[in-house]
């Protein structure tokens, strides 16, 4: 049997699409966290839609932050009725607490329940009073508030006409109306849209008289419209833009029309706009043919369809908002912004990448360690390791800025552990770890039983130094700095040394290691290469590091310093490191003196000069820079010592620890002293220049 060409096609509707504004998820998350908790009872929400406003893109049913029941105040006036592009539509949200229960929801019965509500509204007449209820919708969702991702699925329940409506005719409204009528219809629509009272009523009657006068009426005025029209159309805001199909809201509209008014032929008007005004080329007028119900007294609820497809598939949609909601990520981008602003406005050549990737090892988590860590964080440095064997004592929190009272209660937390915790609390994206370990020191002899564990500590320290880029020597004794200085020189790692006296401080950067230059150059002229290296903490010593702690009184053992010093020295230490990192020669950068500088920015480094040593005093409120070359007889960084360490390893370490004179013999200091003692010097009239005297700290 051939198809009759004249038989009308089935009326096909373009599905409605959802759009969920980010703000809705933000508000919903707050609601869930602050109020709902695990309560998963359904929530009444409001969706918004308006007529199509663009010839190539359909409008959506949108959820905004205002869609949720109003609770908290916002600083914006809430959207009240009368917004022309936000016709409110009632909906319901079922949010589950787990992904499993999301998948287990009985979607068909939920859809049916909402469709029933629409049917009831049609039967009771509520749909005539408030026609927006015809577009009632349903959303199911699962909000994962740990990962800030949201899975959701919309349904736009549509009552299925059985048999389906057929399309007799469909054409642009401008083709259907005469030009006089078209003008009048446009004007009437624009007026309807302009008035706050009617602009958000999405279903209406369009009555055109024989003399081309149009009036637009509410659906409930249906009876009043009978008789005085030439053309009577059922108008509705059509979100769809397609030229050959009406939008989804027409479905329940037809169900309403059929049920209330028993019409077999329905003329409908798909109202669409452009640039804020009625567009009768885009708008459509169509004629549908509907089969009336077979006259039963109690009409039954039709079937319903309406689950939204996701790119053609019957799966839910999902969205991840971690970038805008996860507080840690927000903190990271805020901190990064701060640094970028510094670069943008003040230091365009600042290399921020090197700062965010540098790994810093802090030996000592006391007054200096805490201050250094905080200033490092300010520069965006994220990777910090603490080494400290002590515990937080009651006197510590006031001077050691990472600790609080809680850390000292009871037996006291290990500093290395407490410091890491504190950093994370300040900025969650820190990558920080703590090592509870003592640094082996020369001049503190060890018994043979202790040897193994001491050597293990040495190995551990050596590994730590290898795996970091910059090392801060922030311990509270001279001798504890010896081994780290040696290891840094050996591994050619940046070492920044800070030390405090009672009212004075010293901050310096160690020079490059002795084997940092190529072997060829080394063989040429050892003296020459040494001259080019900057010195380390021990280069000026004439004695090897010794036990400085035993036999001192208790208050001398615990270093007592003016509290202002640690923040000053700690901050200078970090600024010195940043200077090294920004300098093109890095650890090999030569030392500048502030007296010799040109003032203003050096071409080498955008940050200014890069001194070798800084010494200052709060008793004078003064500060100077110094320059010192590496010494051939240095007990920590000289060629002699480093090669001996490389050759003999552990036995060298043990000997240095147990016999301090060993280092003096090795480096020739012993010889030097003998020579000095045999020399008679006339000390009268010797004006020692302050700058030449090495202050022993």
């Amino acid at each position: 049997m051939s198809e009759k060409e004249t038989s009308p096609a089935i009326l096909q509707f373009a599905p409605l699409n959802s759009s969920v504004d980010e703000g809705f998820w933000h508000s919903f998350s707050s609601l869930k966290l602050d109020k709902l908790g695990i309560d998963d009872s359904p929530i009444s929400i409001t969706g918004f839609y308006g007529p199509c406003s663009h010839p190539q893109v359909s409008n959506h049913l949108t959820l905004l932050s205002e869609s949720l029941p109003l609770d908290e105040q916002s600083s914006i006036a809430s959207t009240s009725h009368g917004n022309r592009n936000k016709c409110p539509v009632p909906g319901i949200l079922y949010n589950t607490n787990t992904l499993e229960s999301f998948h287990k929801l009985d979607k068909q019965s939920l859809l049916k329940a909402e469709a029933n509500k629409i049917w009831d509204d049609i039967q009771s007449g509520k749909a005539l009073e408030d026609p927006a209820v015809l577009s009632r919708f349903l959303v199911i969702s699962f909000a994962d508030l740990k990962k800030w991702s949201f899975r959701y699925w919309f349904a736009f329940p549509a009552l299925v006409l059985d048999p389906p409506a057929s399309l007799v005719d469909l054409k642009p409204a401008s083709a259907y109306f005469s030009s006089e009528e078209a003008e009048s219809v446009s004007a009437a629509c624009n007026e309807w849209r302009h008035s706050d009272l009617t602009t958000d009523v999405p279903f209406f009657l369009v009555s055109v008289s024989s003399d081309s006068k149009t009036s637009i009426r509410h659906l409930k005025d249906w009876e009043a419209c009978q008789g005085d029209h030439h053309k009577l159309l059922f108008g509705f805001y059509d979100p769809c833009h397609l030229p050959n199909n009406p939008g989804w809201p027409l479905r329940n509209y037809l169900a309403l029309i059929r049920s209330r008014w028993n019409l077999e032929t329905v003329w409908f008007f798909c109202y669409r706009e452009s640039r804020g005004f009625a567009d009768l080329n885009l708008s459509l007028v169509g004629q549908a043919s509907v089969t009336l119900a077979s006259g039963e007294s109690a009409p039954t609820v039709p079937n319903s369809v309406g689950w939204e497809l996701n790119k053609g598939k019957r799966v839910p949609r999902s969205i991840s908002l971690a970038n805008s909601m996860d507080p840690t990520r927000l903190a990271v981008s805020a901190v990064d912004l701060n640094l970028k602003l510094m670069r943008w406005r003040a230091l365009p050549s600042l290399d921020l990448n090197v700062l965010s990737s540098v790994k810093c090892l802090l030996l000592g988590a006391g007054t200096l360690g805490c201050q250094v860590a905080r200033t490092l964080m300010g520069w965006g440095i994220r990777n910090i390791t603490f080494v400290d064997y002590g515990k937080v004592a009651m006197s510590n929190p006031v001077r050691q800025s990472l600790y609080t009272f809680e850390d000292c209660v009871g037996r006291g937390e290990f500093k290395a552990v407490a410091a890491v915790k504190s950093l994370k609390q300040i900025f969650p994206a820190m990558e920080s770890s703590g090592v509870v370990m003592a640094i082996p020191m020369p001049g503190h002899p060890i018994s043979s039983q202790e040897e193994d564990s001491i050597l293990a500590d040495c190995k551990r320290l050596s590994d730590l130094i290898e795996s970091h880029d910059a090392v801060f020597l922030l311990t509270d004794t001279r001798e504890s700095r010896w081994l780290p200085s040696l290891l840094c020189a050996n591994a050619n790692k940046i070492a920044i040394n800070a030390a405090l006296g009672f009212d004075s401080y010293m901050v310096m950067r160690h020079g490059a290691g002795p084997t940092s230059l190529s072997d060829d150059m080394q063989n040429l002229d050892m003296n020459k290469t040494n001259k080019q290296r900057l010195g380390c903490y021990f280069c000026n010593d004439v004695v090897a590091p010794q036990d400085s702690m035993t036999d001192r009184t208790l208050d001398q053992q615990c270093t007592v310093t003016r509290p202002g010093l640690a923040p000053i020295a700690g901050a200078l230490a970090v600024e010195l490191l940043v200077g090294v990192l920004q300098h093109p020669l890095g650890i090999n950068a030569k030392g500048d003196n502030s007296s010799l500088s040109n003032g203003g920015n050096n071409d080498d480094s955008p940050l200014g000069i890069l001194p070798h040593q800084i010494r200052g005093s709060v008793s004078q409120f003064s500060q100077i820079t110094l320059l010192g070359q590496a010494s051939n007889s240095c007990t920590a960084c000289s060629e002699t010592v480093i090669s001996e360490y490389r050759e003999r390893g552990n036995s060298f370490i043990l000997e240095a620890i147990n016999h301090p004179t060993y280092l003096e013999d090795l480096t020739g200091l012993t010889e030097l002293k003998k020579a000095a003692n045999s020399f008679n010097l006339d000390w009268e009239d010797d004006d020692t220049d302050d700058e030449d005297v090495a202050v022993d700290m």
């Binding site: 373009a14 959802s18 969920v20 916002s74 914006i76 068909q108 019957r314 949609r317 969205i319 970038n323």
Partner: protein
């Protein structure tokens, strides 16, 4: 009492901003009809002393840019096994099967007054039709190429992501730290008014520069 009718230091008072905003919106409506008009969003409970007007900001929303489908973000739920909905819901022939058309990108623009810099700031964001926010990389692809190069070269402005002052969510903005300086340059080059710029014209002049960065041009007539 400073009526603030003219601006000589590149900055605006908050009352001046309200005045300039309305002037800007009015001129836009008249001269720039290819775009929808800007609307004024009042902030509740914050009225200005002098003029009794509300504080607020200008909003231009849902500017549509069509782009090719490749731009659309990854939707991981597509990889989820098809739901058992398949069996329950029979195929309904009255539903039009839609082809995948171009992805629509929507942009919202807000002109907000910054009381710390005392200048207006342009905030913006982009999102797909489903509501998913667009990243800055995707947004830059939507910008006309002259805008991208302007951003790259300009020392006056750059895009940062910061919390919207009233909406409590991150939006992109053109950083205002240079605004005062280049507004002063603009006012100096205006021959008729010497170094003064009438408040009415402030936002128009400001937008003539800033708008270019985000691909929004204003017709020359607006500058008269």
């Amino acid at each position: 009492m400073n009526s603030g009718r003219e601006v000589s230091d590149g900055r605006l008072t908050v009352e001046g901003f309200s005045v300039a905003a309305r002037a800007f919106a009015d001129k836009w409506k008249i001269h720039n009809q290819s775009f929808p008009p800007w609307s004024w969003v009042p902030l509740i409970n914050r009225t200005l002393h002098l003029s009794n007007q509300e504080e607020g900001y200008l909003s231009l929303e849902e500017i549509l840019i069509l782009s090719s489908l490749e731009e659309s973000p990854e939707d991981e739920s597509l990889n989820v096994a098809t739901d058992c909905l398949e069996k329950e819901e029979s195929v309904d022939h009255t539903i039009l099967v839609q082809n995948q058309e171009n992805e629509a990108h929507y942009y919202d623009f807000h002109i907000v007054y910054s009381s710390s810099y005392k200048v207006p700031v342009l905030y913006f964001r982009g999102y797909c039709s489903g509501g998913q926010p667009l990243s800055l990389d995707v947004i830059k692809k939507d910008l006309p190429s002259c805008s991208v190069s302007l951003l790259h070269e300009s020392k006056w402005t750059f895009i940062t992501q910061e919390e919207h002052p009233y909406l409590n969510r991150p939006w992109f903005k053109l950083h205002p730290c240079g605004t005062e300086d280049w507004i002063k340059l603009l006012s100096q080059s205006s021959i008729s008014t010497g170094c003064q710029m009438p408040v009415d014209l402030y936002l128009v002049s400001w937008f003539s520069v800033v708008g270019q960065v985000v691909g929004l041009r204003i017709p020359l007539e607006m500058l008269n």
